[in-house]
Amino acid sequence: MIEVNGKAVDWEEGMTIVTLLKKMNYTFPKIIIRVDGKVIDKKQWSSYQINDQAVVHAHHLIAGG
């Protein structure tokens, strides 16, 4: 199990940030990803492996109205 934005989410072997975003249906183009407190650059999203028990923050920088 991992935590994403404070909520429990099932972990899968080989989970990357890209696969996690797809699982969460997080489609917004401007998201800051922190895994265990560390900001992960967008260039690494398809390769960065998320471990079980990780704490992930997917911070959408959406400006709104």
């Binding site: 934005n5 404070g6 909520k7 249906n25 997080y26 489609t27 917004f28 183009p29 401007k30 800051i32 900001v39 923050h57 997917a58 911070h59 959408h60 920088l61 959406i62 400006a63 709104g64 109205g65």
Partner: protein, 719 residues
């Protein structure tokens, strides 16, 4: 056109003329405001005091201060005493930083019977200031339609009767611009404020502020959209305002530190050039970039805010709208704006109404228009949305209120509260674009069922309960208005913070105070009541600041600088907050910091709250929200999110949904959510320095320095 312009020029009858020496602008201020009483053609100058600059700053602050002094507690929106005040702000009119052309319009609203403030782009506000006036105050009512002209080039203000085609704001802007300009290029120096026939027949009239687009050779328009400012304008028999100012430069504000302004402007323009395409695509799509993410995250208002997404929303997606906008145009609503987000659809052939067959420029659609006129009415046809956008603008109708009003009428129709006999034959089912368009035309013409709809959701609830025996509690639940103003187009149901962000506002549920949905619902950055309260203090105060200065909020967070992710509070965009502090200091020569920035807003925000109190509002009961804004009202709403709601009932409320009917689950959910909202009110009021009844505490008012005797009298009477 030329013949009719000659006729217009020949028809000009000057009722009053005031000549003046335009004051030199000193660090963002002319030091003078213009007062006009159109009941008796009084035109005079007033001084801007140091107290006004220190406490009220400009923009909305000046508007509120003047209105406070002009009216009595019992003044109504259509009394001659009511004023329309238009003011930019000390930073307004700089050309080096994007979004620096905004004005605030302040008046009493026909929808809420209380204070309304509405921000607007276009050239009028800055040109007004550079013509020598930090604000324009209009009081009284004329006997016949008048035009107020401010000639900043020659130092003259006139009140005139002019014969021109009324009723359609796009034509008024075009004709008056043509009449006042010496040649094509000179049209850039003219700005017109007008409304349309819809403002005469509804409570949701807007003011259109023009800006001349040299490339398109057209007077385009931005809107002071909320709260019926245009209805007040037309009730006063003001046909138009006009300003002409030809001497704009990058130093027109005579700033204290012009180099700092330029440096800050260059920095953000570089950011926009580098990052806009990969961030929010404001230059390509404007605010309509939100259509796709709102639908993806189940936040798009659908069918009177019942649902958050729809399978047909792809037809109104951000990219569909992008493809309708003409690209690579200088689409800023003030000169020099590099965010350039006022997208337009060119050569659009109208299919209905008095201008059927004409090919027009449509300013928009913005997100609010597409969501309000479109998805919230169950309509996903971009052609309809674009045409409805055009007619709302030219009739002078608030697109946000119009969308929410039509959506409410549609839900009432589908629940047999109203029928074809009542609607005059209109089949107001969700998705019926033809019927919705006819309603807009009726509001423009002043006939049919449009006359009922145009009174607003609050009045419709009263009428339907009194005349058609509708269940008032159901109407209350689904009627998306707070304080009398219709909700703007975001789903707040699953975000407690945004529920407060809408209903705890000074003027009603417009998202200019706070937009917290993602922070709360998606990012989960506000998991506790204390964090929600902190957000519902900081963001309304921060966002109020733009309306004091003459600034647009969009460049604050619709472009994000490099390194923002590494800051402590990336949602605040700290580097841009510092930009604004630097701009204020560079223009005015003062030395504020981020804390004083918030304090500036707190003074005006709390003054507005107390002013509401003075008018008989401004307490806790007026911050109540319709239940549709807090949770699912109907069975179909609950069942559309059954998994989420059942989980919440089990985990958060402690009730096992198994074996319960949907109605029982709705009831249990409602009790939980309404109690949560009351708790939110308590914590937010405490954080804001207010009593449990939502009244600013005397000691806090003193601390802010707005403890004028008449202010304390209002507070003490209501404690």
């Amino acid at each position: 056109m030329n013949k009719s312009i000659e006729k217009m020029r020949a028809s000009r009858k000057v009722l009053a003329r005031y000549e003046y020496e335009p004051a030199a602008i000193d660090k963002g201020y002319s030091g003078k405001t213009l007062y006009i009483d159109i009941s008796n053609q009084t035109i005079k100058a007033k001084d801007v005091t140091n107290q006004m600059k220190d406490i009220f700053i400009g923009g909305k602050g000046f508007g509120l201060w003047y209105l406070w002094n002009a009216i009595k507690p019992e003044t109504k929106w259509n009394d001659p005493e009511n004023e329309i005040v238009i003011s930019s702000g000390p930073i307004g009119g700089i050309t080096q930083y994007p979004g620096s052309g905004k004005s605030l319009v302040v008046t009493l609203s026909p929808l809420t019977n209380s204070l309304m403030d509405s921000n607007v782009g276009g050239f009028f506000g800055p040109y007004l200031k550079f013509s020598g006036w930090d604000a324009l105050e209009i009081q009284g009512k004329a006997e016949k339609d008048v035009v107020i002209l401010i000639d900043g080039d020659n130092g003259a203000v006139t009140i005139e009767e002019i014969d021109f085609q009324p009723g359609a704001s796009h034509l008024i802007s075009e004709q008056l611009t043509e009449m006042l300009a010496d040649n094509e290029k000179d049209k850039m120096h003219v700005s017109i404020v007008s409304s349309g026939s819809g403002a005469e027949h509804t409570n949701v009239g807007i003011l259109n502020f023009s800006f001349y687009d040299l490339r398109r050779k057209a007077a385009r328009m931005k809107q002071a959209g909320r709260g019926g400012t245009g209805t007040v304008f037309r009730d006063k028999k003001i046909a138009a305002l006009a300003v002409k100012y030809s001497s704009l430069t990058g130093r027109s504000n005579n700033p204290a530190d012009p180099a700092k302004i330029s440096k800050t402007g260059v920095k953000i323009t570089r950011e926009i050039n580098k990052f806009d395409n990969e961030q929010f695509r404001m230059r390509q799509i404007g605010t309509a970039n939100l259509m796709t993410p709102m639908n993806d995250y189940d936040l798009l208002p659908v069918n009177n805010f019942k649902y958050g997404s729809h399978i047909d929303a792809v037809k109104l997606s951000s990219d569909v709208l992008r493809d309708r906008f003409t690209q690579n145009m200088p689409d800023g609503c003030w000169i020099g704006c590099s965010l350039s987000c006022c997208k337009a659809v060119d050569n659009f052939e109208l299919k209905s109404g008095p201008f059927k067959g004409n090919k027009v420029i449509v300013d928009g659609p913005e997100y609010e228009n597409a969501a309000g006129l479109g998805s919230n009415c169950g309509i996903f046809d971009p052609d309809y949305v674009i045409e409805a956008n055009f007619y709302c603008d030219t009739y002078g109708l608030d697109t946000i209120s119009t969308g929410t009003m039509i959506a409410f009428a549609m839900e009432c129709y589908e629940n047999n509260i109203i029928n074809k006999k009542i609607t005059g034959g209109l089949e107001l089912n969700f998705g019926n674009a033809e019927a919705a368009m006819e309603l807009i035309h009726q509001m423009g013409r002043g006939d049919g069922f449009g006359l009922i709809v145009g009174q607003g959701v609050r009045r419709m609830k009263q009428i339907f309960a009194e005349k058609y025996s509708a269940d008032p509690s159901f109407l209350q639940d689904i009627g998306m208005e707070n304080k009398g103003l219709e909700y703007s187009q975001y789903q707040a149901k699953e975000s407690l913070a945004q529920q407060g962000g809408y209903a705890m506002t000074n003027k009603g549920p417009q998202h200019d105070e706070a937009w917290l949905i993602f922070m709360d619902m998606v990012n989960n950055q506000l998991p506790t009541f204390e964090k929600k309260a902190e957000a519902l203090h900081y963001f309304p105060m921060f966002r109020t600041w733009f309306g004091l200065q003459g600034l647009c909020k969009l460049p604050w967070n619709d472009i994000v600088p490099e390194g923002n992710a590494q800051t402590d509070s990336p949602e605040k965009i700290p580097e841009h907050v510092q930009n604004y502090v630097d701009l204020f200091n560079a223009v005015t020569g003062r030395n504020i910091d981020k804390e004083e920035m918030i304090r500036q807003s707190e003074r005006v925000y709390n003054f507005q709250r107390i002013f509401n109190l003075r008018l008989g509002f401004g307490t806790r009961e007026h911050d109540a929200a319709p239940y549709r804004a807090l949770g699912p009202v109907t069975v179909e709403e609950y069942e559309s999110r059954a998994e989420r709601y059942d989980k919440q009932l089990k985990e958060d409320v402690g009730i096992d949904p198994a074996g319960l009917s949907t109605e029982e689950k709705i009831k249990a959910m409602r009790k939980y959510r309404e109690e949560r909202y009351e708790t939110l009110l308590d914590v937010v009021y405490e954080r804001r320095g207010w009593t449990k009844n939502g009244i600013p505490k005397p000691e806090f008012v003193k601390e802010l320095g707005i403890d004028f005797p008449e202010v304390m009298e209002v507070i003490n009477k209501n404690l």
